[in-house]
């Protein structure tokens, strides 16, 4: 299991939190998701054998939120 933090552009509507959360939860290999509204970050724990960090990024960006950085 790997946990990564993705820095997004300033999140404005808390409803987008639910969107990102649901989308990632439905992604195979993702164990847990936490969207941090105030710091505009997404904390994802996932199984690297099933899903890569790039895949996770693609899901977030596919929803229309630019990923500015990860760590």
């Amino acid at each position: 299991m790997t946990t990564k933090n993705y820095q997004l552009e300033t999140l404005t509507c808390p409803s987008c939190m639910a969107k990102i959360e649901n989308a990632l939860r439905r992604t195979k290999g993702v164990e847990s998701v936490e969207v941090l509204f105030n710091s505009s970050r997404v904390k994802v724990t996932f199984d690297e054998l099933v899903v890569s960090s790039d895949d996770v990024k693609r899901v977030i960006e596919g929803l229309g939120y630019k990923v500015l950085g990860e760590k």
């Binding site: 409803s15 929803l63 229309g64």
Partner: protein, 613 residues
């Protein structure tokens, strides 16, 4: 996607204006409509893109609702409504991100205090490297105007250092050889050579930053509740809109309902107030670990203070030495050697008094056993000694003579703490130590009473008389003396049951259990002690205890702000619902009110940034 939010807002706004002008000039209504449609597309297409991406994951977000409304408006040939909804939504989003950044600005400002360069001496050469490349033990040089890149000890030089990054206090303090300096603080004048003790992520400043960052997203109870609420509210309104359409065939009404289905102001009401409050606190050197703590802090009814190091300076000094049947210097020497391993403030006072009087102490205790809340059992120069309080002496079967007892009592009544030194047979002497009360402690107690704290108690391992002397001096309601760490936990439970939520205030040296078990743990002087910073819910980074009153006031202001926001958001949501059903509010005006309410909530939270004492 190549355009920014702002560009889209401006472009679609301009198209709307052109369309209006064309309509006024009565050129051709068709051309005017084309421009209006253009405006709707410029602002609307990115929204639709997001909506489609969301629907792929079977998520109906606000963008999907807005998209639906726009498509409906176009279908109804209401081009102005379509343009207005998308324009307002995009403009609102833009303004919200700008204002939201303000609420988060204090925390960002803190991040900017992170040092970005370190000058170290390696192989006799001065070189500039990144702060995270410094290793423990490196010699770091810092010049005026520069940020200290590590936590360390001054080895050479003298400087005035602004420690605002850590303590929130911007009056510079003097640092010279032997003093501890912190990463993130700035040299105002002078020059320092520093031995790096803690680097990178381990520095106090880096850890504060990390904790503040984590804190801002620890949700308040109210927030969790509101999130659950909105999770049901939105689908409910959507179903309602669909039903309404089936029964009334009024597409316009149903579409308007969709636009107001997302209670944006309500969901954002709590996190914006919390982040502004935490940011304000961080700027003043107070670390509040999350929304729930913020809510609890203002509701505290009982404050329990640890005495030593919290209400007093914890820099106790030896004020008198009385020996029975031996030289005073010898007594002091035995005590100092015996206490040489101890980190207890009383021990430090004895050791430094001995060093001052007798010069460096080259010896250590041969064995040393700490009896919590009592003192030490030590072996010095082959002999067993007890160094500690009355309990220690009596429990080990040593008698305290009448004359000795009288002297001890006299000293204690003067507010002195006495350390009794005995061998296995008899008391050898008494060392009196006094610890000055913090200059701002009295003010704090008065402030707290004004804030309506019901009960202020003091918990201490010290004896009754010293405790009473200090409690009286400060105006503390009740004091509990001669407590062991676990007793403090018990007393806390008692007072909390009697008077309401209780907070424990301590410096964390020996009250970590109490800090952890209280309804709320507050640590002071966090820049020094790690355990306290980790266990406590609220940390005052500096030693200024009067900031506690500020923190409680801020917490209440934050909760008040939150409640104003929630109240306002509920009223707006209710009025919108009524307005829509009464057909007074349509797409564009619904969106306008919605976006305005979100902005007002954010702006209200920004007011919190200005909170002072």
């Amino acid at each position: 996607m190549g355009t920014t939010k702002l560009q889209r807002v401006v472009l679609s706004g301009m198209l709307i204006i052109v369309s209006f002008v064309l309509k006024r000039a009565a050129v051709s209504p068709v051309i005017a409509d084309v421009f209006m449609l253009g405006a709707a597309m410029v602002a609307g297409i990115p929204i639709m893109r997001k909506a489609i991406a969301g629907i792929k994951y079977r998520i109906l977000g606000i963008d999907a609702l807005v998209s639906l409304a726009v498509i409906g408006a176009v279908y109804l040939r209401e081009y102005w409504e379509a343009a207005a909804v998308t324009f307002l939504f995009t403009l609102g989003d833009y303004l919200e991100s700008r204002t939201l950044e303000k609420t988060r600005a204090s925390i960002k400002a803190l991040l900017n205090m992170m040092p970005d360069m370190a000058r170290v001496i390696r192989d006799g050469q001065e070189m500039e490297i990144l702060p995270q490349e410094v290793v423990k033990g490196d010699t770091v040089i810092v010049k005026p105007g520069e940020r200290i890149p590590v936590d360390g000890t001054v080895t050479e030089g003298n400087a005035y250092v602004n420690q605002a990054a850590i303590t929130g206090e911007s009056i510079p303090v003097n640092k010279e050889t032997g003093d501890t300096v912190f990463s993130g603080t700035v040299i105002e004048s002078g020059y320092l050579k520093i031995r790096a003790d803690r680097v990178g992520e381990d520095t106090t400043f880096a850890r504060i930053l990390q904790m503040v960052e984590e804190a801002q997203d620890k949700k308040a109870k109210t927030q969790k509740f509101l999130e659950t609420f909105s999770r049901y509210y939105t689908p409910f309104i959507i179903v309602f809109a669909v039903l309404l359409f089936i029964f009334t065939r009024d597409l316009r009404l149903s579409l308007t309902l969709l636009v107001i289905a997302c209670p944006g102001a309500l969901v954002i009401a709590t996190p914006v107030s919390i982040v502004a409050g935490i940011g304000n606190a961080a700027r003043h050197g107070v670390l509040i670990k999350g929304g729930e703590v913020m809510e609890k802090l203002g509701q505290i009814r009982v404050l329990a203070f640890d005495k030593t190091g919290t209400l007093t300076e914890a820099k106790p000094r030896v004020t008198g030495i009385k020996s029975f049947g031996m030289e005073e210097d010898e007594l002091l020497m035995i005590a100092a050697i015996g206490e040489s391993y101890s980190e207890h403030p009383l021990a430090k006072a004895i050791v430094s008094a001995a060093q001052e009087k007798l010069g460096p102490i080259g010896e250590f205790a041969e064995t040393s056993e700490i009896i919590p809340g009592q003192g030490l059992k030590v072996k010095v120069r082959g002999r067993d000694y007890l160094i500690g309080n009355r309990k220690l002496i009596l429990e080990n079967g040593v008698r305290i003579e009448q004359e000795q007892e009288e002297y001890i009592r006299q000293e204690e009544e003067r507010g002195q703490t006495v350390v009794i030194i005995s061998n296995v047979e008899r008391v050898l002497g008494v060392i009196s130590i006094a610890d000055a009360v913090r200059a701002d402690a009295k003010q704090l107690i008065a402030d707290l009473k004004r804030l309506g704290i019901r009960k202020i108690v003091m918990l201490t391992g010290d004896n009754r008389r010293t405790a009473a002397a200090i409690a009286q001096q400060l105006g503390i309601d009740e004091h509990y003396a001669e407590l062991l760490p676990e007793d403090k936990v018990k007393v806390l439970e008692d007072v909390s049951r009697q008077f309401g939520p209780a907070a424990m205030v301590g410096d964390g040296v020996n009250d970590a259990p109490a800090l952890a078990s209280a309804d709320l743990g507050i640590a002071i002087g966090g820049a020094g002690t790690d355990v306290a910073v980790e266990t406590a819910d609220v940390v005052l980074m500096s030693n200024e205890i009067k900031k506690l009153a500020y923190a409680i006031g801020l917490s209440r202001a934050t909760v008040r702000n939150m409640k104003q926001n929630i109240f306002f958001a509920i009223i707006v949501a209710a009025l919108l619902l009524v307005g829509v059903l009464a057909k007074k509010v349509f797409l564009s005006s619904g969106m306008l009110v919605h976006e305005l309410s979100v902005l007002i909530v954010i702006i209200n939270a920004i007011r919190l940034l200005a909170y002072r004492q």
